[in-house]
């Protein structure tokens, strides 16, 4: 399944942060509507930077595999504290 990217239009405030951050130019800016549009979803690598950055949380992605992050191991964190 390929990645799907959608923008909730009513939430978009037209800041263009998604346009600037996307490394593969998935978004374009619609001047007339003052909103971002998804125009090249085929090139999305699912880096999720747009999702994290959008101040309105207007971007939604589906059909990607989320990387499993390391667990929070409190015991180990305690041992590592002195290095930080």
């Amino acid at each position: 399944m390929s990645v799907q990217v959608t923008i909730r239009e009513e939430a978009c405030r037209g800041c263009q942060m998604c346009v600037d951050v996307c490394p593969t130019k998935v978004f374009t800016y619609d001047d007339a509507a003052a909103k971002a549009r998804v125009s090249g979803v085929e090139d999305c690598i699912a880096c999720l930077s747009c999702v994290y950055l959008c101040p309105s949380m207007a971007i939604n992605e589906a059909g990607y595999t989320a990387v499993k992050n390391f667990y929070r191991d409190l015991d180990f964190s305690r041992r590592m504290e002195r290095f930080l």
Binding site: E42, D43, S49, Y52
Partner: protein
């Protein structure tokens, strides 16, 4: 206290062994018992996590002391490792074949560092050739242990640990292709990173 009494008193002090914990067996969807595989995987993952977190803490410390010099040091260390691991690999002129060799090298060294080639829709070919003869292609790294370690403590990306990885790829690919290879980060994301690999021509 004579020797026998001392031995007796020591054995009395010894704490009794903990009762054996009954491990819950994990049964897969086909009814297979895979409990030991799950345990083995968890142990390996914990070891990897602890090692990587420790390395990230060291890299962070190094960055504080040596500033940008830390990136250079990490790059050279990674490059040496890549060159060493690939020194006996079969040589080729084909970049995709060389990447496949690197992938196998990583896997043979128990390094689960997956990457895939990336072609933009508007791009006619995977590899593009510049006027200077240099060949370029993009790579996507998803499940990257460096990114996971950095996020674990909120460290920034594109630091010395990432440079170690660029070094590794440069070293390994140069050994396989016999040409200068440079891996640069185009974008460091939360769930994937996009990198550009440039392999220079033999003449340059």
């Amino acid at each position: 206290m004579n020797r026998t009494n001392r031995r007796r008193s020591r054995s009395r002090r010894r704490t009794p062994p903990a009762p054996a914990v009954q491990e819950k067996e994990y049964k897969g969807h086909q009814g297979n018992t895979r409990g030991h595989h799950v345990k083995e995987m968890e142990a390996t993952r914990t070891t990897l996590q602890e090692t990587m977190t420790f390395m990230t803490a060291l890299a962070y410390g190094m960055e504080q002391m040596a500033d940008r010099g830390a990136n250079g040091m990490a790059f050279v260390a990674g490059k040496k490792l890549g060159a060493k691991l690939a020194e006996t690999s079969q040589k080729t002129d084909d970049i995709t074949q060389a990447l496949d060799t690197v992938r196998k090298l990583l896997s043979a060294n128990h390094c689960n560092w997956g990457f895939e080639t990336f072609k933009r829709k508007a791009q006619p070919t995977l590899i593009t050739k510049g006027a200077d003869g240099a060949e370029k292609l993009e790579l996507v790294f998803r499940d990257c242990m460096i990114r996971q370690s950095l996020f674990r403590y909120g460290h920034v990306q594109k630091g010395s640990m990432c440079y170690m990885m660029y070094g590794f790829f440069s070293g390994a690919l140069e050994a396989i292709l016999g040409r200068r290879a440079v891996l640069e980060v185009t974008h460091a994301g939360q769930n994937a990173c996009l990198k550009c690999l440039t392999v220079h021509s033999k003449e340059s």
